[in-house]
Each structure stands twice: as C-alpha cells, then as structure tokens.
C-alpha cells in the first residue's frame, strides 16, 4: 500500500511520467482509459507502466479514487468559471486547492457536493464521480450524497441551538441515531475534534459563547458526525487565529487516513503543511496537479512557479 505522508522527490522517470500525463490531459482523457493525472505519493515503475492497475483499491474493493472529475466545466449564465477540469482525488488523502481569487476554487469545491445546483443559471458539463457513481445521475440521492460528502465553511456557522444539538443536527436529520445514542455521538465527536474537555459541562449552552476557533471545531464535529467519506473545506481557517489554525491543521492531518479531504486555501504555507497533493487553478483552468512537495519545489508550469513563489496572486 502507498503511504500517505511520504512525498517522493521526483526522479527522472517520474518527471517524464508527469510530463506525459500533462500532455494527455490537455487532449482530454480517453474513455475507458484512466489518466493518472494525480501522481500518487509513491511513484514506482510498476504503476508508471500501467496506470490502470491503480484504479481499484485492493483492500476496500472500492475505486482507489474517491472522487473523479472528467472534463468538468462550470458556468453561471454566460460566464464560464471552470473549463475542462479532469482530476482524481485519491482516497484517504488531503488535496489542497490553491489559486488566486476568482480562479474558480470555491465554485469547484461547492460543485462536488452539488451546492451550486440551486444557484441561478448554474450549468455544468462533464462528470463528477463519487466512488465511481455519477453525482448527477438520477439514481443519486442528493441528501445522502451530502451526508457522504461533508462541508466546512470559511466562517464558523453553528446553528442557533445548544452545543450538543449542533453536533447531532445532521445525525438527527438522517435518523442515524436517536435518544441516548445522540449523547454518545455528541461525546465521541467532540472528543475527536478535541473540544470535549472545554464544553463537557456546558453542552446545553449557546455555541456562540465559544471562541471562533472552538465554533469552527464544533462545525467540524457536526460535519464528522454523519460519517462522511469526503470532507470539503472552504478556507477553513482563514477566520481563525494562528493557534486555532495550527490546532485545526493538526486535526485535519490526523483525520486523513480515514477521510478524504479537499481544502481550498489562500494560505500557501497551509497547503504545504497539510496536503498530500495540490491543485493549482488559474483563470478557471487546472494548471497543475501533483504531490504537494514537488508542486511547490519543482513546479512544472511557469504560472504555478510564479504563484507558489509569491510573484503572482
């Protein structure tokens, strides 16, 4: 199995491999053939030879890539936000989504759990697959899709109800547990996000008495309570102080093996600290996608290089 934390310094072969896939991606993926655009953390000769081998996870029997986008284009009315993005998110990893404001990061992120569907004049082309199933297919239940693909917002948004009710809000909505079980769920999740000790004596209090960082952790606990496979995070720490930010980052890293995450961030340091892979979006196009360390240290594209070195954005 691949290890998630290991990031491989690119060897000559690996660089060639990435260049080859970059070219393939520009012409679009052929049907039935998987383009390994997302370089796995371990680049070995075996999977260079045959990327198809990598599409199934032998342990879980599920597709190795939790989310796969094929030729995804998004637009609101006449203005096109995202063009022809094909990308795969590897199970159990954190992917950072970087790019200047207006590059389509948030729109892309909110498309993955179909939060844009109701937006006026929103239009999409291409496909997004979650575990191999089209998220827009009629067989897909929108509510259960969102249970499996959770979301954390830029500003903490606890509901105006008690702290405990906040944690179990989604659990109640999906009838995953009831009665006494709810207390157990609340405790487990609050422990998981490291908030239990701080709030155990005031579970019936208003969440707005908590600090901003604690509120965001509460929202994280709420999102985790429904047992999602994927968590989408839209600048989760940009409203938080540095200490809370560090805490949240450590937490996210710890969640990684069990949970796949996509994090939009303007904080390049954060992308480097927490993510396994990084996607660079610019002007609605996916410019580059690869292991975080190599994208930052040996960017393939000159635009990426300008952005990650701070000369743009």
């Amino acid at each position: 199995m691949t290890t998630r934390s290991a990031v491989v310094r690119l060897t000559g072969e690996a660089k060639q491999w990435r260049e080859r896939n970059q070219v393939e991606n520009e012409y679009g993926a052929e049907p039935g053939r998987s383009v390994e655009h997302a370089a796995p953390p371990e680049v070995t000769l075996a999977n260079l030879e045959d990327p198809l081998l990598e599409t199934m996870d032998p342990e879980s029997g599920r597709p190795k890539h939790v989310i796969e986008c094929r030729g995804l284009s998004l637009s609101f009315g006449q203005s096109r936000i995202l063009s022809e993005v094909s990308v795969k998110f590897q199970r159990g990893t954190i992917t950072a989504l970087i790019g200047p404001t207006g590059s389509g990061k948030s729109t892309f992120l909110r498309t993955l759990n179909r939060m844009n569907d109701k937006v006026r004049d929103f239009h999409h082309e291409g496909a997004v697959h979650l575990n191999g199933d089209d998220i827009w297919s009629s067989a897909q239940n929108l509510l259960s899709l969102r249970r499996r693909v959770g979301m954390l917002f830029q500003r903490p948004n606890p509901f105006p109800m008690s702290i405990k009710d906040n944690v179990v809000a989604g659990v109640k909505a999906h009838r995953i547990a009831k009665g006494k079980q709810l207390d157990v769920v609340a405790e487990q999740r609050l422990i998981e996000v490291g908030l239990w000790e701080a709030v155990r004596d005031r579970l019936d209090d208003s969440p707005f008495r908590l600090s901003g960082g604690q509120q965001q952790l509460l929202c994280l606990a709420r999102a985790l309570a429904t047992g999602p496979e994927v968590l989408l995070l839209d600048e989760p720490t940009s409203a938080l102080d540095p200490v809370s930010t560090e805490f949240v980052e450590a937490l996210l890293r710890g969640l990684a093996p069990a949970l796949s995450m996509v994090v939009v961030t303007h904080n390049l340091g954060q992308a480097r600290r927490i993510s396994h892979n990084t996607m660079f979006l610019y002007g609605g196009r996916l410019v580059e996608h690869g292991p975080t360390a190599s994208l930052f240290e040996h960017p393939f594209d000159p635009q990426t290089e300008r952005y990650v070195s701070g000369r743009m954005g």
Binding site: N113, M115, R120, L142, L143, S144, L145, R146, R147, G150, M151, F153, R155, N157, P158, F159, P160, M161, S162, A169, G170, A173, H174, S206, P207, F208, R209, C219, R222, A223, T226
Partner: protein, 290 residues
C-alpha cells in the same frame, strides 16, 4: 464667524428636534395610559371581571371572553394563513416567477389594505356575509374581517423575519444533507421565530383594538360567547368603550372606562407574553450568546 460654531448650533438644533420628536411620541402615549388608569381606578370593582353586562350596567365578563375568543379566532385563521403565506413568499416561491412578483403583489395588497379604512372592510363583510349569506352578527364574519385586515401584515413580517436568517445557517443545513423542508422547520423558521411572533402579536393587538369593522359584523350581546360560528352575536371590549361612553348614566361611563383599562392590560399581557417567547427562542441566538 467660524464654521465650528455654526456646526455646533446645527448639532444643538438637531438634538433638540430629536428630543421634541421623542416627546411628541411618548407624551401622548403616556398621557393616554395615565388617563385610562386614572379614570378607571377610583371606582374599580373586581366584580367587573366576572359579571356579564346587563343593559349598560353590570360587568364586562362577556366582552372580555368575547374579545379573547375573537383574538383566538384571528390567531388561528390569520396566523396560519399569514405565516404560511410569508414562508411561501420567502422560501418556496420560485425566484424567477413567483418570488419577486409574489412579494410585490403582497406589498401592493398591504398598502391597499392599510389605506382602506377598516370601517369600509367592515361594511363590505356586512353586505357580503352578514346580510348576503345570512350569517347575521356573529363570530365568523367578525373573524373574517379582522383576518383580512391583518393577514397581509403577518405575511409581510414573516417574510422579512425569514429574509434575515443568516445564509450560513441555510448553507450549513444544506451541506449536512438536510431536506429543504427539514431545514426550514428545524433551522430557518426556528431562527426567525422572534420576528414572526412579534408580527403576530402586533396583528393581534391591532385586531383587539378594532371597533368599526366589529360594529358591522359581531354585534353585541349580554351573554357569553356561544359555540356557534354564525347567527349568534359576540360581545367585545371596544363596544362598551365606544357606545357606553355616550350614555347618560354614570354606571355606563364607569363600564366604558373599565373596558378601556382591561383592553390596555390585555395588550400589555400580549406584549409580555411575546417577549417571553422571544427570549426563550433567542436563548441560543448569536446576539445574546456573546
């Protein structure tokens, strides 16, 4: 003449104007309250609350219960329709078709209705229901006319209370996979409840103080409200205020003053009750949390 002095003078004039305006608003209200209490208090008898009217004397028990029944009727009819209408306009009306148009139709309706003297509404209902459908002076036409008056108001206050629910709550609910109806019930309406309740309360206060439309629809009776929607008149508190005051007997004047005091107290109870509900609903809100 330096500019500073001119500015200070202007500032002073502005302050004085504001204080004057406040006095003009608060003064009459306070005068009214004091007047009502001062006229009713000296010869107040508690028995007024428990004895029904006989002619222009006796007590007001029939009118008190009648007003309470009328308000309950308005709460049920206008409250349900108004709140549901407001929820529809704010949340469910498709943005492209109904949304904008629906609320502008509602706004028009509110403006027109608030411009129509309530006595006109009373007359219309009198012709249409009391005479037209032979309902007679009774509970149903009275509730109808009061409801017609306040439904647009309730719908509008509900709509604006819902519009003020932060987007973050809605998005959070949506992202957790709550169905729109569930999110509406558990998150959105609950958050907007203080605003909705306040709107309902003001609507009730308006309807409890109405006289003109009730003269045309409710009639008056010495007996307690009966469990009949039509053909049976209902007593109400504004009737003695309006009618008994012109009677020559002292006893009638006393009853008129008592009725005014009871009405004021009733509205006060409504206000306090709504305040309590609002506080309870707001115990987890962002404003009081900090």
């Amino acid at each position: 003449m330096d500019r500073n002095r001119g500015r200070r003078l202007w500032e002073l004039a502005f302050r004085l104007g504001a204080i004057l305006a406040l006095a003009l608003v608060v003064g009459p209200a306070a005068w009214l309250l004091v007047g009502v209490v001062a006229k009713a208090a000296p010869h107040w008898r508690w028995s007024v609350l428990f004895t029904p009217t006989t002619g222009a004397s006796g007590g007001l028990a029939n009118a008190i219960t009648g007003t309470v029944v009328l308000m309950a009727g308005v709460l049920i009819v206008a409250g349900t329709l108004g709140v549901l209408g407001g929820i529809y306009l704010a949340e469910l009306a498709p943005a492209r078709r109904g949304g904008k148009q629906g609320s502008s139709v509602l706004r028009l309706a509110t403006d027109v209705l608030s411009g129509v003297p309530s006595i006109t509404l009373g007359f219309v209902v009198y012709i249409a229901l009391v005479l037209g459908l032979h309902w007679g002076f009774s509970l149903a036409p009275a509730v109808v006319v009061l409801s017609v008056m306040v439904i647009p108001y309730i719908a509008r206050s509900t709509e604006s209370a819902l519009a003020q629910v932060p987007t973050g709550y809605r998005e959070g609910a949506e992202a957790l996979g709550m169905s729109p109806g569930y999110a509406l019930r558990k998150i959105v309406v609950r958050t907007a409840l203080p605003g909705i309740v306040t709107g309902l309360l003001i609507a009730l206060a308006i309807s409890s103080g109405e006289t003109a439309p009730l003269l045309y629809t409710a009639g008056f009776t010495n007996s307690f409200p009966q469990p009949h929607l039509i053909h049976t008149p209902v007593a109400y508190l504004t009737y003695p205020v309006w009618t008994f005051y012109n009677y020559p007997s002292n006893e009638a004047h006393t009853l008129a003053n008592d009725a005014a005091l009871i009405l004021v107290v009733l509205v006060l109870i409504l206000l306090i009750g709504a305040r309590l509900i609002t506080n309870r609903a707001e115990r987890y809100s962002e404003g009081t949390g900090r």
